[in-house]
């Protein structure tokens, strides 16, 4: 019987628009949002950009044009910028407004002293062009200043070259990996967010599914076919599969994003950790949400308490900066063993490679024990309250059912 319930819950929900949206559309959207801009930016233009130049200095303009031609070339080898030089800004102003040129630069005589030049554009947002013009002009002015003090540009470059501090991350096996601070922060954080979203999504669906069967008065018909515990377990397993499907999608997208950015971040052990702690975290919260669903007559009534439960899941997210930057602090270690947030902290900490295997094993065993406890309590509550309508269940009553 339970197989039919699992299949029913899974298929009904996997077909739903909500699932399609959260499991597929959202990650694809994130993917697009992450990849598209850099894809567009890095695609080089094939047409040269026409700019204007008014040079009021002694020959800096010519150096500037030479530098620009040397530094920026199109794929075809042609200069990226072609420059129209004028004595007076007026014709350039007209040309800019007529869209004949994209920008024009005015180099004043005082540029060597003040370091100031002017750029005129139609829209201020062409970051790439602005950046290219600024860099080339900067080089020219710098060289002129060095000449003024009779300094060799090569010597100055050598003298002022900066020190680099490269960081290496030592893993348990003694291998050193070049580390990247952004990656070190984001991989654990994103992994934890994925876990949070999948667990929250599927346990919310479970809550809704129980409430729907209650409010549509379907429940009594079902209970003449299956026992309450079969119904509850079937729903939990069916929607757990749904969550796993979603997790699979999210990890797939995460993997593509990581690959695209050249990060080899997803290790098989990490996937196993994600899987085990998704399953245990989901079972823990699913049991709670199933029991909540059996108590309330409508989603609105359940919202307050389910919101409070979800708030517990948010704690690791709010404190994630602390946990990631202090992965071995006492507080982090202790909180790792607090069952409601264990899965999130484990995933967070194994993302920063700061967790011992024994810690993972102990945390997992603790999870299993607390799931057993929560399931037992929720089973009792579910069984007793599933057919009670229109009566607000009180806490003392629930405590009595648990003891019964």
């Amino acid at each position: 019987m339970i197989a039919q319930i699992i299949k029913w819950e899974f298929i009904q929900r996997v077909k739903s628009k909500l699932f399609l949206f959260t499991a597929i559309v959202i990650p694809l959207f994130i993917l697009a949002a992450m990849i598209l801009p850099s894809l567009l930016l890095s695609s080089e233009s094939t047409k040269s950009t026409l700019i204007g130049l008014v040079d009021q200095s002694s020959g800096i303009g010519n150096d500037f044009v030479a530098q620009l031609t040397q530094d920026y070339r199109l794929k075809s080898g042609e200069p990226e910028f072609s420059v129209q030089i004028e004595e007076d800004p007026e014709p350039l102003k007209q040309a800019l407004l007529n869209k004949d040129i994209d920008a024009y630069v005015v180099i004043p005589d005082s540029i060597l002293d003040t370091g100031l030049a002017s750029l005129y554009v139609r829209s201020a947002s062409n970051f790439k062009t602005t950046d290219a013009l600024r860099r080339s002009l900067n080089k020219v002015v710098l060289n002129r200043r060095l000449q003024k003090y009779h300094l060799d540009p090569e010597v100055v470059k050598e003298v002022t070259s900066r020190v680099q501090l490269r960081s290496y991350q030592l893993s348990g096996e003694g291998e050193a990996n070049e580390s990247n601070e952004m990656v070190d922060f984001f991989i654990p954080f994103i992994s934890m967010m994925i876990l949070y979203m999948t667990i929250l999504f599927s346990s919310q669906i479970l809550l809704r599914s129980v409430i729907e069967e209650r409010s549509s008065r379907m429940i009594e018909i079902l209970l003449s076919s299956v026992t309450p515990s079969q119904l509850m377990n079937g729903k939990i397993l069916g929607l757990g599969l749904l969550g796993l499907t979603q997790l699979f999608f999210y990890l797939g997208v995460g993997y593509v994003v990581a690959l695209y950015n050249g990060i080899e971040s997803i290790r098989p052990q990490f996937l196993l950790t994600m899987f085990l702690f998704f399953v245990s975290g989901f079972l823990f919260y699913a049991a709670i949400f199933a029991a909540l669903g059996s108590i309330f007559d409508s989603e609105q009534e359940a919202q307050q308490i389910s919101g409070m439960v979800s708030l517990v899941m948010v704690v690791p997210i709010v404190l994630s900066t602390y946990f990631i930057t202090n992965p071995t602090a006492i507080a982090t270690r202790i909180l790792t063993f607090l069952p409601p947030i264990t899965p999130f902290l484990i995933v967070l900490r194994s993302g920063t490679s700061s967790i011992d295997l024994w810690e993972q094993i102990v945390a997992f065993v603790l999870m299993l024990l607390s799931i057993w406890g929560v399931m037992k309590i929720s089973g009792k509550v579910f069984q007793t309250s599933i057919l009670m309508y229109g009566k607000r269940v009180t806490l003392p009553e629930i405590l009595r059912w648990i003891r019964a």
Binding site: S216, R217, E220, I221, S225, Y389
Partner: protein, 300 residues
Amino acid sequence: MLNVDSIRKQFQATVAVDGISFQVEPGDIYGFLGPNGAGKTTTIRMLMSILKPDSGSIHLDGKDIARVSRNQFGYLPEERGLYQKVKLGDALKYLAQLKGLSPAESGRVVQQWLERFELADYMQKNIRELSKGNQQKVQFIATLIHSPRLIILDEPFTGLDPINQILMKDIIKEASDRGAAILFSTHQMEQVERLCNRICLINKGKIIVEGDINEIKARHGRRNVDILFEGELDESELDTYLEDIHLEKKRLRGSLISSSKALLRWISDRVDIQSYSITPPSLEEIFIAEVQASREGGEA
């Protein structure tokens, strides 16, 4: 077949069912009656082993009901509904499969039942698009789709038009003919009189009357007289023969407290009798009388 032996169920301070016993045999259509809050739904839930009795036992074919496969039960609860955003065909197939039918079998029987109820066109439609009456037909199908041996119908006819009521009655009778035991709970007495062969009337968790419907009527002392006459009748002496007297110009109704012979002799001396009939009490009268009697008994 179904053997209920002094079951009892208590919810905190209230005793919902207090030692009820009865039997239902194959082919029986057993009326299960009682006012609101009498303990009907609790009893039915115990029969479906949704609830466990505190004491007493329920057996189906000698087997404890908790151990009987639920595939044998068909239950139409009073508070019933269906998934709303699900396709009709899918929902019925799911319910049939929960009762142990294979996917292929469930597809076949769902098709048959929908055709019989003229709902085949709605197979691919969402249930919420169905009218209320059609949704009731679907609930009825869900109850009977797996040919259960024990069928429990709680107020099955509420909200159905007369034509569909006839269709349902035919189907209930078919189930009874193939040997299913049917327990039929309702307030609508005329339905019970037409359909049931045996009844059980409960109030406050206890059985008041139980047995063959005709025997109960015969056993019940009350006989109603209805006389049409010509002439003048004086009410003053009537109360030695009748109670609940309704005397109109040419008609006398009441319930006999003497022999019918004595009344006839007395009346025929005074007026010209046009017609004379004695009818057994309706179930409704028995129901009301018994519930009132048990209330007075309880208060005394």
